[in-house]
């Protein structure tokens, strides 16, 4: 087993009288794809927001890559190498797909305003490199033929892929995907599964919240199940998805609904 990249201990978040996440412990190892599932309102997105730094935890600790980063703001987590996508499609709407990805490389570029004014050699090298890398990232997400199209004008499925391209452009160590398959048809879902496998193959650890069991079962090495903010199960998908308790709180209801 690889070294652990993310470890969460006793993480709790309270909103007024509501405990959205209660005393959650979890570990993610480098190179894994880990799924976080649970019914609506289970606290998955709240947990994600705490990991991404956009929401400070009420108590508990978050360690990323050996360093304690509990309560650090979003941009510090971003700088540390935690990238995320959002549940509601979140791109830079009035920029082209290519500029979306270029803007996202903030963490991995250095040449700022001054270098740009004086057109230094380092600046020119970095810009050329950035362009090449951005096109590669777009190609990775199958968007290279749409590079010059405004993000706003892309189809829904393309926008969701662009979100992943944006997150990958930051060259993260850990990628948090919040319901990447939401609203996708089965064919797009299959494409997403392949994309997540390629992301893992490139060495990025993935933690994803997802409702599509087919996607979860296809890509995840391990699953965590949350219900009412409490972790109720963890383990390999085959085991977790057959756990009677998990079926009762989550899958059972989904089946009845469907």
């Amino acid at each position: 087993m690889n070294a652990e990249i993310l470890s969460v201990t006793g993480l709790t978040r309270i909103f007024g009288g509501l405990t959205a996440v209660r005393d959650v412990n979890m570990t993610v190892h480098a190179g894994e794809v880990v799924g976080l599932i649970g019914p609506n309102g289970a606290g998955k997105t709240t947990l994600f927001n705490m990991l991404g730094g956009s929401l400070p935890p009420s108590s508990g600790r978050i360690r990323f890559d050996g360093a304690d980063c509990t309560g650090e703001p979003s941009h510090v987590m971003g700088q540390r190498g935690v990238s995320r996508t959002f549940q509601i499609t979140s791109v830079f709407p009035s920029l082209s797909a290519l500029d979306n990805v270029r803007s996202a490389a903030y963490r991995t570029t250095k040449a700022g305003w001054g270098a740009s004014v004086f057109r230094t050699a380092a600046y020119r090298r970095e810009e050329a490199d950035l362009h090449r890398r951005s096109m590669e990232t777009l190609a990775f997400c199958d968007l290279d033929h749409r590079a010059d199209i405004l993000a706003d004008a892309l189809s829904y499925g393309e926008q969701r892929r662009l979100e992943i391209a944006i997150a990958l452009a930051a060259q993260p160590r850990l990628l948090l995907l919040d319901e990447p398959a939401a609203g996708m048809n089965p064919e797009e879902g299959q494409r997403l599964v392949e994309m997540i496998r390629r992301i893992r193959a490139s060495g990025v650890t993935v933690l994803l919240v997802e409702h599509h069991m087919r996607v979860v079962a296809a890509v995840c090495d391990r699953l965590f199940v949350l219900d009412h903010g409490v972790k109720i199960a963890e383990g390999p998908p085959a085991q977790v998805l057959n756990d009677p308790e998990v079926i009762r709180v989550y899958l059972g209801r989904e089946t009845v609904d469907a």
Binding site: S54, A104, G112, W113, G183, H211
Partner: protein
């Protein structure tokens, strides 16, 4: 790319010979005003166009720069050309303090806070008679000079401000093509996403705000030394509106836009002189009409024309699909 460079060189050349084409002092004076407004609008454009926040306080920073340089040269006898960078520095300090407080909030709240800070500066200037001479203003401000270098008449001032406009335009061009500028625009487009990518949203905005206020201060100082008289009106709501109109009508987030908008503003201001106070009604209509019919400003006409032109030339060009995002609905 090459055609772009040629049209750029042509444009700069045209700006360079304009005073000779003007032929009379009045038109040369208007050219100076055009360039001054272009400079101020370019600075405000950093806030409105790149950071995506609306500031109602920009005229106050113009005033801070103008009063700083005016007081330094009339009271302390400092050579005005030395007062110029000091004016920028003082305006930037005001920008730092006000931005540090106001940039904690976004959108309408930020706009209202800047309006408040602007009004405070205006009121203080109007009533602190010992320093600013109050509503009487400061007169007999010496022209810009340092030793043998002087900018006394309109033509000399025009070239000075034109030079500054070109420098600031290049700085803006370099900005949007750098990591820093891309962070500005990322913050404008989607602040939470920008933060998740490692951009410190507050510091990024503060940097843009301070740079913009510094340029506004320098512009204000040049104005003071050129017109030779300043009153608190320079910080008034009229000037606030004028700067916003110039940026929005010209085209926010572009470099040519604010320069073009300044030309339209100064041109209309003068040609509508016969209309008296009705001028402001015309400007209000112009602003409203632009926001409704041409949200990208005047430059978007050119972009639109070029887009059509390209589509005609290139029949196989892929047109943007009309698929609305989210058409497939949320999830589950």
């Amino acid at each position: 790319m090459n055609a772009k460079h040629i049209s750029l060189a042509g444009g700069v050349l045209l700006l360079g010979i304009l005073p000779f084409l003007a032929g009379n002092a009045y038109l040369e004076h208007l050219l100076v005003l055009w360039m001054l407004y272009a400079l101020l609008a370019l600075s405000l454009n950093i806030i409105i166009g790149y950071l995506g926040e609306l500031s109602f306080g920009h005229a106050a920073f113009v005033g801070v720069g103008a009063y700083t340089s005016a007081i330094l040269s009339t009271q302390l006898g400092l050579p005005p050309l030395i007062g110029l960078p000091l004016a920028g520095l003082v305006a930037a300090l005001f920008g730092l303090v006000i931005g540090y407080a106001a940039l904690r909030v976004v959108g309408p709240q930020f706009a209202i806070l800047t309006l408040g800070f602007g009004s405070i500066l205006y009121t203080v200037t109007n009533h602190w008679v010992d320093v600013t001479r109050g509503p009487m203003g400061i007169s007999n401000i010496p022209p810009l000079s340092l030793g043998p270098v002087t900018f006394t008449d309109a033509r000399e001032t025009y070239y000075l401000v034109l030079g500054l406009v070109l420098v600031v335009a290049f700085l803006c061009h370099a900005l949007v093509n750098s990591r820093t500028g891309r962070a500005f625009i990322a913050v404008r487009e989607n602040a939470p996403l920008a933060a998740s990518l490692g951009v410190n949203v507050f510091h990024t905005k503060l940097l843009g705000f301070v740079v913009a206020t510094a340029i506004a201060g320098v512009g204000g100082a040049i104005y003071a030394h050129y017109i030779k008289v300043i009153t608190p009106d320079i910080m008034g709501v009229h000037n606030v509106a004028a700067l916003i109109i110039v940026v929005v009508v010209g085209g926010r987030g572009t470099i040519v836009g604010p320069i073009l908008g300044a030309l339209v503003y100064i041109g209309l201001l003068e040609s509508l002189r016969v209309a008296g106070p009705l001028r402001m009604v015309v400007f209000a209509a112009l602003l409203t009409g632009t926001v409704v019919f041409l949200p990208g400003g005047l430059v978007s006409l050119w972009q639109r024309w070029r887009g059509n032109h390209k589509a005609e030339n290139n029949a196989t060009a892929t047109t943007a699909p009309t698929t609305l995002p989210n058409a497939e609905g949320g999830a589950k």
